[in-house]
Symmetry: C2
DNA sequence: CCTAGCACTCTAATTTCTCGATTGCTAACT
DNA sequence: AGTTAGCAATCGAGAAATTAGAGTGCTAGG
């Protein structure tokens, strides 16, 4: 258990290091607390023994360890109000009623990336509530058809298919069949229904039913898949901890790996912080994530920055956004 | 006018510098030509006077100047066959008949970026031949409609619109009207037709015709706009000339500026090379571009790398791709 | 428990030194 | 006239030495 004084020393070191990116010495702290640098040094030694601080070399100032940051975010960080300017910038997005939720998220995280110089990820998982509204097939060339699927949340996906030997009549019949049987079905149940209810019936009517069936199957799969977007990737370049090109390459490659990013959801609804080795991204970064959920949609937003990240601000910003979109 | 020997010296310096990225000295060259280093030095001095070579400092080897590269690509470069492996990799893409052209382009440029470690841009301008095939409106919620537009080339775009006080009847009527009047119209003429033929008519039938009109107008604009894609951006990081973070940031920002990239088309159908200050990207890069044109589609592909770029190989690769897609 | 004082440590920046590559020039050679 | 050997001069890159300063740990005394 830390004493009050140890806590305030740790807090100062963390905030100061976040601000200036230079190891913090005892002198800077004894100026602010009312005691001598020797006293601070003794305390710092204890904090180092506890694994909360580190030195870069024998006679440098102290730097927070991963554990130190952890202690800071768990116990010492205090949530401040956002500045008027920040709120103002974000409000313009939330008050623009003509935007879809995914646009609102992307824009607001662009703003956050801008304000903070960190990188954001929006994982926009289409809601389970998405229900099939209508399917349509448009013939565009001799043997080429386009299957279009619309859901009641306004999601539209399409896929081109090539068929031959199937008359337009038959196709129309199939479309009508699907529309009659599965409109209103939640998207993630459509595949099963397609397989067990539609497929057997199509088989009777249409010769090349496999092609039609597969095309629609693909479209439904696309719709129920997640959508991931990385915002402000170049901000990585702004931080001195990432001045090494191979490190940058590493992180960029990971940010480009959409499949990996699709697994960032959280179990809980809090704002979760993963510092250094606690995340799978990179030992030198910190990731702050939270889920959001509205009646229509749900997903995850995450901010990625150096471990020496302005945790307070990012948590505040994410909290603000979460509250806004969850209403 | 350069002598034969001067040309072969220049050629050696360029190819050697492209290969090793180190200033080329007279010794390396006199080993290959049958003369002494002093002779080479005299020649190099003349090439320097002509502005074709440069020194990094008084007693370093020579490096090609921009003008030197230019002379090389204009007069000295010879086009070699692609290696079997390269052709094989690319063939798998071109022979996959189920891919749309834009996918073929993106995949083949991914392969090229992979082979060369350079970055590619695909500017996929939708063809003027794109004709309106069908429009459709799907109501998804009380006052929310989705407008869907399909062209005869299989392009599908959609837009959500919010209307109130317009009955579904009226909407259907409008859709039928548009379908009847402008199906078959080339996409880039649709907007005009919409304005002068449809709008006046809609105005009579439908109260809130502006909203409907605008939604469709937006969709048509989206369809006729160009699509730009950057492939292998991280390859920038692999070249020693871009080891400076602020330079990287600079180039990345430009590669992210889609609007700027949309203006990369060429006037002619050749493969065009822009070295250093000849391009608008960055004085340290070279850009190699060419247009492609098929019956259905046209656009531009470009490769971006350091000035010290393997011009031969890139030109060969672009040429190969161009020939493949133009059939 | 706190603090002043001091020797010690280590970095970062600056300077000096050396090595080797390469040049330009000159004078001699073919 | 073109080519070459020889040589002093130039410069960068890297190693080693130097210095200044910031910060530490420890000790002894308040």
């Amino acid at each position: 258990m830390l004493t009050k004084r140890q806590e305030s020393i740790l807090k100062m070191i963390v905030t100061e290091y976040i601000k200036l990116a230079k190891p913090v010495g005892s002198k800077l702290i004894c100026d602010r607390l009312n005691c001598s640098s020797a006293t601070i040094r003794n305390e710092m030694m204890q904090l180092e023994d506890l694994g909360l601080l580190e030195k870069t070399h024998t006679s440098s100032g102290r730097v927070p360890s991963e554990k130190g940051y952890r202690y800071y975010v768990d116990h010492l960080m205090e949530l401040k109000e956002l500045s008027g300017e920040e709120v103002y910038k974000l409000e313009t997005v939330f008050q623009n009623s003509s935007l879809e939720l995914s646009d609102v998220l992307n824009r607001s995280l662009e703003i956050i990336s801008d304000i903070t110089s960190y990188t954001s990820i929006v994982l926009d998982a289409k809601s389970h509530d998405n229900k099939l509204k209508e399917i349509n097939v448009v013939p565009v060339d001799k043997n080429i058809l386009i299957a279009i699927v619309v859901t009641d949340q306004g999601v539209v996906e399409h896929k081109t298919m090539e068929i031959s030997g199937v008359s337009l009549e038959e196709v129309k019949k199939t479309v009508k069949l699907i529309n009659d049987l599965i409109v209103g079905t939640p998207i993630d149940e459509v595949s099963a229904k397609l397989e067990f209810e539609i497929k057997p019936v199509i088989a009777k009517y249409v010769k090349q039913h496999e092609i039609l069936y597969n095309a629609f199957y693909d479209v439904f799969t696309d719709i129920s898949s997640k959508n991931v977007n990385v915002v402000g990737k170049n901000n990585i370049l702004k931080h001195q901890e990432f001045s090494n090109v191979s490190k940058i390459n590493d992180i960029f490659s990971k940010l480009d790996n959409k499949e990996m990013l699709k697994n960032i959801e959280e179990k809980n609804n809090d704002i979760n912080i993963y510092i250094g080795h606690e995340n799978k991204m990179d030992p030198d970064v910190a990731v702050i994530k939270t889920n959001y959920k509205t009646s229509k949609d749900e997903g995850t937003i995450a901010i990625i920055g150096p471990k020496r990240m302005d945790y307070d601000k990012v948590v505040n910003l994410l909290d603000y956004i979460k509250k806004q979109i969850e209403g």
